[in-house]
Subunit: 315 residues, 3 copies
């Protein structure tokens, strides 16, 4: 998340009661989690496993629970609980101030657009022109919807990420990372009924121009869907996934987190994608393989009894 | 879709600025897409691959982008873009005039029926007697709900079909076929929470009498479900599918488009149905096989290591 | 379901016009279906297959359609249609009196909690402190929501069970068992968008403290989820399942009915759980196997062509 304007790191250190070392005169331009961090960003790390990765990332300001050497030009903010400190900063810039109206006064709805009864449109939502929002749709705060978009009934745009800070020595193992990213739906996108699209944890979840989605599709946080993709019903895509342009996913496909599917790839129904996947090819299976190879494999399995009989005799 | 009354084909030719050849005195009784076309219907074709199929179909009036020989008694309507012409006709008879009330004034609700708060009931919807519509349900225009029906919370009846005119040389590859069909829910049907049932593109999607559906089930456009079917949670059925009477689908089953499942067939959980399937048998797997054969196959796979050792020696 | 206070069995016999044999002076403390029956309970049985199991269960009062020997201290209530009698009793204690307000006057909402617009909160619902109910959520009658709970948009709590009395010689094969149990959401639980959690048929469906659920998850009737479980998107869990503490289910997993998954088990994405499953291990596949064994199996399948060539010659 970008801050509304750059924030002196000393001010942040005061907010979270951190001891600051290194460049205490800097200004933070945003806050991010490790997957998506950029120069100028604040980031936090609370597990030794990630100290190095975090310190050597693009982050300029690191909230940490151990005194380590400060890389040149950066600042460390030492606190006992970096996760709580991170949440405190996010909650400062995105406090919980829910709308108590069906359509928030701060929402902007473009010319020629229609919002059906029973839809909810949160604070600072922008809806473009000639867009139709069906009944019982929910659009949470800060989301951006383009022109000529259709969002069918019951769909939820901007639900919180399923992303937790996990410690199994606490009474409650999982504590939620507050989601301060947005969902951006580009022009000409159509989304079916009963879908859920999570907002980014710190960046944006994006559905690219001209992409068409069927019913009951789940899209995780910070996932970026390219242009002119076709996604059939009941597909689930985890967080931080990239679909390049023109990808087709057939019904009930599952896509695991933090991977990329290349442009114009086709994933056949009920398949499971667990790793980066080259474009311009078809895939099938859980886990996926090249579709033709997988089909051949299904035939080979049927030949086992004949092979057994030849080697072992009548079963 | 039937027209309210027969429409002179000359009037339609004027509407879409078509050059008419053949029987220009006919009257069109309806408009359909190729899968469902009947005598008296208008249909469109824009791809050489389907010219023959379309001209030889039951359609009486064909919107087309090439001058071809007119079959006896039929009429051709020549235009540059048959898809746009089709949309223009559909939009004339089913213009976008959404209700801005929770329950449209033109909806009819039978004696003894109850509609919970936050449900949306669109224009020209008919709900029978002793039917219960739970909160946050959406019933879009023109749908018909029978007697003694239960529709649980969050379910959407009459969402638009996921059906697109596809051309990969345009900026936007996919353009929506407008859905002018309906959803018909027969008597004694019960539908769980969070389901989505798409309307037909040109015909009706039908859920047969006495069928019971669990939560989060997706039913595609123009699909016809028989009587007394049992459909477990998270099943997805694509468009133009026929389920004959008494079919049972267990949880998370997927059914591909334009196929038939025979009466009293049982499809076990997580299976994928990709072709026509005989009734009175059980099936399992993705893609499905006879359930007992598939179970045996799973056992055979476990014998590969023993076979390998016999043939190749210790692995 | 517990009755508000013990009910003389003679009063119940009058209500359902039953002939009573055995201990006609007893008082029934509740009514249950066979899976969950306790001492003091009424239960019904209408199929010879279950007579013995029912008579020897903990039930004190048995609604039955055959004169059999009465076990000591129990009472039999003889009627022609035990299922109809059961429904009559349940409907007496839980009559259909739906709320016509978004938030029922009998609902109790704790300090610091916020209910967004368009949410529905039914009769006798209790919501704890500092809990957030997002837009278009539905919470049906009698459900109990704890403190520090988040329920995201479009989710349904307390939908009716998918549980039917089945007789294939009637015009309508399936008749619904009325659900009189509740859903209980314990403290610190977070539930994503578009989920559905069915109420118990006669007991309660419970989501244990600290459990976190992603979007579009289905939980069946009378299922009990332990503490600190992690359930990813599009998982479906059938009825009467037990998840012990700390279980992790990844995306699109399916869990069949009336089984137990041991504590800290991990079920990988798209797997299907069909039987009781030991804790502290990882599983994969449909049906599941030990994850490492399953991975090895996938490799063995790829070796069939080499084996074939060795035994049979070039294919």
């Amino acid at each position: 998340m970008r801050f509304p304007s750059p924030v002196p790191v000393q001010w942040i250190a005061d907010l979270i009661q951190a001891k600051i070392t290194g460049n205490s005169n800097g200004q933070a331009t945003g806050i991010n989690e490790l997957h998506k961090v950029e120069t100028g960003d604040l980031v936090f790390v609370d597990h030794p496993k990630y100290y190095d990765k975090c310190i050597n990332s693009n982050a300029s300001f690191i909230i940490i629970n151990k005194e380590v050497e400060v890389p040149s030009g950066k600042a460390l903010l030492l606190v006992e609980n970096p996760f709580e400190a991170y949440c405190k900063i996010v909650n400062h810039f995105r406090p919980f101030e829910p709308s108590n109206k069906n359509i928030s006064d701060s929402a902007v709805i473009g010319e020629g657009s229609f919002v059906y009864p029973n839809a909810f449109v949160g604070h600072h939502v922008t809806i473009g022109k000639n867009t139709v929002i069906h009944p019982n749709v929910t659009i949470m705060d800060h989301c951006i919807i383009g022109d000529h978009v259709v969002i069918q009934a019951g769909t939820v745009i901007g639900s919180d990420a399923f992303y937790y800070n996990s410690k199994k020595d606490r009474a409650v193992w999982y504590k939620k990372m507050p989601s301060c990213g947005r969902v951006i739906i580009e022009d000409e996108v159509e989304i079916g009924a009963g879908c859920t699209i999570d907002r980014g944890v710190s960046h944006d979840t994006i559905i690219g121009k001209g992409t068409k989605m069927d019913n009951m599709i789940h899209i995780g946080h910070d996932t970026v869907i390219g242009k002119n993709c076709l996604i059939a019903a009941q597909v689930g895509i985890a967080g931080v996934v990239t679909l390049e342009d023109g990808v087709t996913l057939w019904g009930q496909v599952g896509v695991s987190k933090t991977l990329t599917i290349g442009s114009n790839a086709v994933i056949l129904a009920q398949s499971g994608v667990g790793k980066d996947t080259e474009g311009n090819r078809s895939y099938f299976g859980s886990p996926i393989e090249d579709a033709r190879e997988k089909m051949k494999e299904l035939v080979w399995v049927k030949r086992i009894p004949a092979l057994w009989e030849k080697v072992m005799g009548k079963p």
